[in-house]
């Protein structure tokens, strides 16, 4: 283990009602690292993410973020600690303008009021289309623009980690690859770590990151970036043929 571990998940169990979805799941994520999580549907990827950000209660195990056990905190407190979230399906606030969507997380953080203008400038430089439409309603954006907005909304408060759930879903290929490049750039230049749940192999191999394969709520194997360098090879390694 490296010294600068940012997020550490240990033996996590969680689920809905009487069914357990996540079984003794463990992994860790370092500063400015990009880590993918993949696997078939219904295997618990989204449940895992929601457990980490606090939308689903943890049954046992621990979630350590910046050397602090955050598993007892509610989701808003975890967010304040520095966890950003880009939900599946973007979940843009349709009644807010684009700029209000971006700034919304800042309004709950007193400490971030200063310097927010510069941060906003950075974000607009990163995603120029958002500046163009900053006074439009969130609902008026196309899918690809909404995905950029969802990332911008997570970036605004300088979180140490951003968790993305299926960022390529329903997005045209050119924007998917643009988003991939943006994530890499951010992890390099801003030291932001990314945890990406993804099923799009091309996108995974573009990110050049390690990847955890999930099956039935458990961590099956971890593949390194080099193993996933080509799409064909990745496909082979990530397939869960007949168990």
């Amino acid at each position: 283990m490296k010294k600068d571990v940012l997020l550490k998940i240990e033996n996590v169990n969680s689920g809905y009602g009487s069914t357990t979805v996540i079984n003794n799941f463990s992994f860790s994520l370092n500063k400015s690292q990009i880590l993918c999580i993949t696997g078939r549907n219904g295997m618990g990827k989204t449940t895992l993410i929601k457990t980490i950000i606090g939308l689903i209660a943890l049954r046992s195990g621990s979630i350590i973020f910046k050397n602090e056990d955050i598993s007892k905190l509610n989701s808003s407190s975890r967010s304040i600690k520095g966890i950003g979230y880009v939900p599946q399906g973007r979940e843009i606030f349709s009644s807010l303008t684009v700029e209000q969507n971006i700034l919304m997380p800042v309004f709950t953080r007193k400490a971030f009021k200063y310097g927010v203008k510069n941060k906003l400038r950075d974000i607009y430089n990163l995603f120029p289309v958002l500046e163009e439409k900053k006074n439009n309603n969130g609902s008026s954006l196309s899918g690809g623009q909404q995905q950029q907005l969802a990332i911008a909304r997570a970036l605004i408060f300088n979180p140490e980690i951003i968790i993305l759930d299926e960022p390529s879903e329903g997005i045209q290929p050119s924007i998917v690859s643009f988003i991939g490049e943006t994530l890499k750039k951010l992890s390099n230049s801003f030291d932001t770590a990314f945890l990406v749940v993804e099923q799009n192999i091309a996108f995974i191999s573009q990110l050049k990151s390690d990847c955890i394969l999930v099956n039935k709520g458990s961590n099956v194997k971890t593949l390194t970036a080099s193993q996933l360098s080509s799409v064909e090879k990745a496909r082979e390694l990530l397939s869960l043929e007949s168990h």
């Binding site: 078939r40 549907n41 690809g144 290929p173 050119s174 690859s177």
Partner: protein, 232 residues
Amino acid sequence: MATILETQSLTKKFGGFTAVDEVSFNVQQGEIRFLIGPNGAGKSTFFKLIIGNHEPNSGTILFKNLNIEKLKMYERIKLGMGVKFQTPSVFSELTVLENLNLANNLNQLINIENVLKDFSLVNEINILAGDLSHGKKQWLDIALATLSKPELVFLDEPTAGLSFEETEKTSEIVKKLNKQGITFVIVGHDMDFVKQTASKVSVLHLGKIFFEGSVSEVLSNNGVNDIYLGIS
């Protein structure tokens, strides 16, 4: 082969914005036609115009040589169409079986077991559809659209959120149903799925048909690359 669906100068405006701009489009019987294009190109609007969710501002829609643009959605469906919308919209408070029974809109004798087998839903027959995994919801949704063996089926993003294995399986299902006589028009972004499945691809851009051709023609077209695929 006969033309099953044809639109002539189909136009839809929202306020000052023209979402679908004089699109003339036709599909032959037996095709698996893909409709791709950038986000906001008008694919979903176009698709909703054909099935009757939106009313066009002008233009005509011919299905089996019948003018259908004045018909309500359910009337068009009864003529022999099937639909799956973008987000999986199965009836979450009904069981899988009840969902399938509901989809049997002509009260035909249908071998439900075969359908369940085709869509890998055999073990979930009495489960509430809301409790299915995302992938199984997608399949159930396609099953609903195709159950009563319509001649033409529209699928909007049938593989969104599916793993590549599930995508392959979906492709097999579509091809199997196609062999049984169902013509497909599929909207989607998943180029893997397109490559595995399509017999012909139409690219929509800014409300117009930008390019039409086979998969390889589309992939090698520079214009399509610029506006959509982004492979440099």
